[in-house]
């Protein structure tokens, strides 16, 4: 599809550490992935696997404070996001890369009208008058299908439902025509029926505006629905990256395999609902070797060695030390 294009964002060896009682503890490390223009990358993994930390560090919200540090590169339109200064960061945020967060109920400022909040983000990046910005805000609200946007622009957030607030946040995100959107579990806090509407809206926005998107989720079903490519995170690392169809058809890493096996539709095809025993390690006790090994049923003694994410075919990478030799064991 978009294989020929150069990546819009190319993250390499991203590592975010925090000072934990005087020792540097990596929350995420050796995170590398890329996103091409117009492409949607799903970032999947269990709670605590480092999805938000990765996204936040790209936006400059993580790794820059006291007691945190950051290394690696994140090439985006000729710049390294991890090395922008405050001013560059502010002019990038909401303008070239926008972000939508998980909690629509708390993500809007209760003291300001929503139209004003959207317009405020427009006026930071575009030289327009307050009145023009307000018009543009109303347009953006229209675009995300908020009914009677002109009237609703003068409402306060508490006058909106959760789904409507998420629409407002999406309107905010697209108001400056960014080339990339990071959506961190944008539907997790919403009712199931509303989730579907918001996903449909995001899909529509990304197609209409040619947005590249990093879509963070727990939900493999959502990945199948809206993502082109997929990066699976486990314990602060990406364990597998690749095209969604190829990965679903033949997962290369045992962890991905287990995640997919847990999906009801796939599980029923395989005849069982399978789960991974144990729980993921905390950043303070990540194993030195393969981090999934303690929970992996294909583990060998050699799995104690450090791992790297290796490209196994164009556009597909795998971190499993056993490559795909573990697969034969699955059939038995």
């Amino acid at each position: 599809m978009t294989g020929a294009k150069d990546p819009l964002l190319n993250v390499e060896n991203l590592r975010v550490e925090i000072d934990f009682n005087g020792a540097w503890v990596p929350l995420v490390d050796d995170v590398s992935f890329s996103v091409k223009p117009g492409e949607t990358l799903g970032l999947v993994g269990e709670s605590g696997s480092g999805k938000s930390v990765s996204a936040m560090s790209l936006m400059g919200f993580m790794g820059r404070q006291r007691g945190q540090r950051l290394s690696g590169t994140a090439a985006f339109q000729g710049k390294d996001l991890l090395r922008l200064n405050d001013r560059e960061l502010e002019s990038m945020r909401g303008n070239e890369i926008a972000m939508v967060f998980q909690e629509p109920m708390t993500s809007l400022d209760p003291a300001f009208k929503v139209g004003h909040q959207i317009a405020a983000g427009i006026r930071v990046h575009q030289h327009v008058t307050a009145a023009q910005a307000k018009e543009m805000a109303i347009e953006a609200m229209d675009k995300v299908r908020i009914p009677s946007a002109r009237v609703r622009a003068d409402s306060y957030p508490h006058e909106f439902s959760g789904g409507m607030r998420q629409r407002v946040l999406i309107a905010m995100a697209i108001a400056n025509n960014p080339s990339m959107l990071i959506a961190d579990e944008p539907t997790t806090a919403l009712d199931v029926s509303v989730q579907a509407q918001i996903l449909a809206l995001l899909t529509e926005m990304k197609e209409d505006l040619g947005l590249a998107m990093i879509f963070i989720t727990h939900n493999m079903g959502v990945v199948a629905d809206i993502c082109d490519r997929l990066a699976v995170m486990y314990a602060g690392q990406i364990v597998e990256e690749g095209d969604v169809f190829e990965t679903f058809a033949a997962p290369q890493h045992p962890y991905t395999d287990r995640l997919l096996a847990a999906m009801p539709s796939i599980a029923s095809r395989r005849g069982s609902l399978e789960w991974i025993p144990g729980s993921p390690p905390k950043p303070t006790d990540f194993p030195a070797g393969c981090r999934f090994a303690p929970r992996c049923r294909h583990r060998l003694d050699s799995c104690e060695q450090p791992t790297t994410l290796l490209e196994i075919s164009p556009g597909r990478s795998n971190r499993c030390l056993r490559g795909n030799t573990w697969m034969e064991e699955n059939e038995s």
């Binding site: 405020a120 006058e159 199931v192 989730q195 493999m220 847990a262 789960w275």
Partner: protein, 343 residues
């Protein structure tokens, strides 16, 4: 949910039903009713205050007229006091005629000065109001600035220093602060005049110079309280999701602080400002005395020494009315500032 927290979405579908209608705003009558309730509450409070202030005369032991007139008073003086207090009539009649006078601006005649109390109070009021206004402006400006400084530098040196200063400010009585300022800035360094007052109409510069030290003394505790409130509410606000949203839109730290954080922090701050204004009015009594400012506070203290009951009653009544008005205004401002309460 499932053990690993991985779940599967239902198939995507186009939105079928229209989004839920927005919650309606509370109709205007709600606002009127809540303002009405507050006015009623203030009026009731006023009645309670008049009863209390009137009751002050009952606290005087023995024959109030004799003890008020003091030693060696002429029978005429005692009789005059007796008439003024309306002694001999039932208490409720005394109360109503006194209240009636109060409502018409008649606060009685001073036992000592033999002039209308209202004239005495009115001549002193500009001093006290200048002082209080000065002090509250200083407290608001410096308290909030210091609070913002600590909130944005939490745990760092600037925050620690500011917090130490404000803790001292809260713990130190205002007359103590006043005396230290007086010793340092007037007696030692001769920067400000030590005592006295010049009306603004005579010499604005001198008026200002005479008020600086007493205003600082009076403002210290209120400013410190405001620093604390600002620090705690602004640093809480800065950690909210909606601040992150604003930063993700590209808003600068400064914009977020001055526009978003301040507006969100305004309702609790307004409450503290209101309360501190009331406290500060009470504190002005002592501070005026320390700096020999001829204000209402000094008048009150003197009236105690002179057993000049009508003046004392007038001052207490005046102060209570200020507090009632301040509370009413604070409530109203809180309502206006808070969009969820606003109708």
């Amino acid at each position: 949910m499932t053990p690993t927290g991985i779940s599967v979405s239902p198939a995507l579908q186009e939105p079928k039903k229209l989004p839920a209608p927005a919650k309606r705003r509370v109709p205007l009558s709600g606002l009127l009713r809540s303002v009405g309730t507050r006015i009623l509450r203030s009026l009731l409070l006023f009645v309670a205050v008049t009863i209390t202030v009137f009751g002050l005369s009952a606290l005087i032991p023995g024959d109030p007229a004799v003890s008020l007139a003091g030693e060696g008073a002429t029978p005429e003086a005692i009789a005059a006091i007796r008439t003024q207090l309306g002694l001999g009539k039932p208490w409720y009649e005394q109360y109503f005629s006194w209240t009636n006078g109060v409502l018409h601006g008649d606060l009685g005649t001073s036992f000592f000065y033999h002039t209308p109390v209202s004239d005495l109070v009115m001549s002193r009021l500009p001093v006290t109001l200048s002082l209080a206004l000065f002090a509250i402006i200083a407290a608001v400006v410096f308290g909030i600035l210091a609070g913002l400084l600590s909130a944005t530098r939490r745990g760092r040196l600037a925050d620690k220093i500011t917090t130490v200063i404000s803790t001292v400010g809260i713990a130190t009585p205002n007359f103590w602060v006043g005396m230290i300022l007086l010793i340092l800035f007037s007696l030692n360094w001769h920067i400000f005049p030590a005592v006295g007052y010049t009306p603004i109409t005579k010499n604005a510069g001198s008026w200002f110079m005479h008020l600086v030290l007493p205003a600082i003394a009076l403002a210290a505790a209120a400013g410190a309280e405001l620093q604390r409130q600002t620090r705690s509410s602004v640093s809480e606000i800065l950690s909210q999701d909606y601040i992150r949203t604003a930063r993700a839109q590209g808003l600068t730290r400064r914009k977020v602080l001055w526009q978003r954080a301040l507006k969100n922090g305004a309702p609790p701050l307004a409450t503290v400002v209101g309360f501190q204004t009331a406290v500060l009015l009470g504190g002005s009594v002592v501070v005026e005395k320390v700096f020999s400012l001829p204000g209402v506070g000094t008048l009150a203290i003197d009236s105690v020494t002179l057993k000049d009951l009508p003046i004392l009653q007038a001052v207490v009544l005046l102060n209570a009315c200020f507090v009632i008005i301040i509370n009413f205004a604070t409530d109203l401002i809180y309502t206006v500032l808070n969009p969820k309460v606003r109708i």
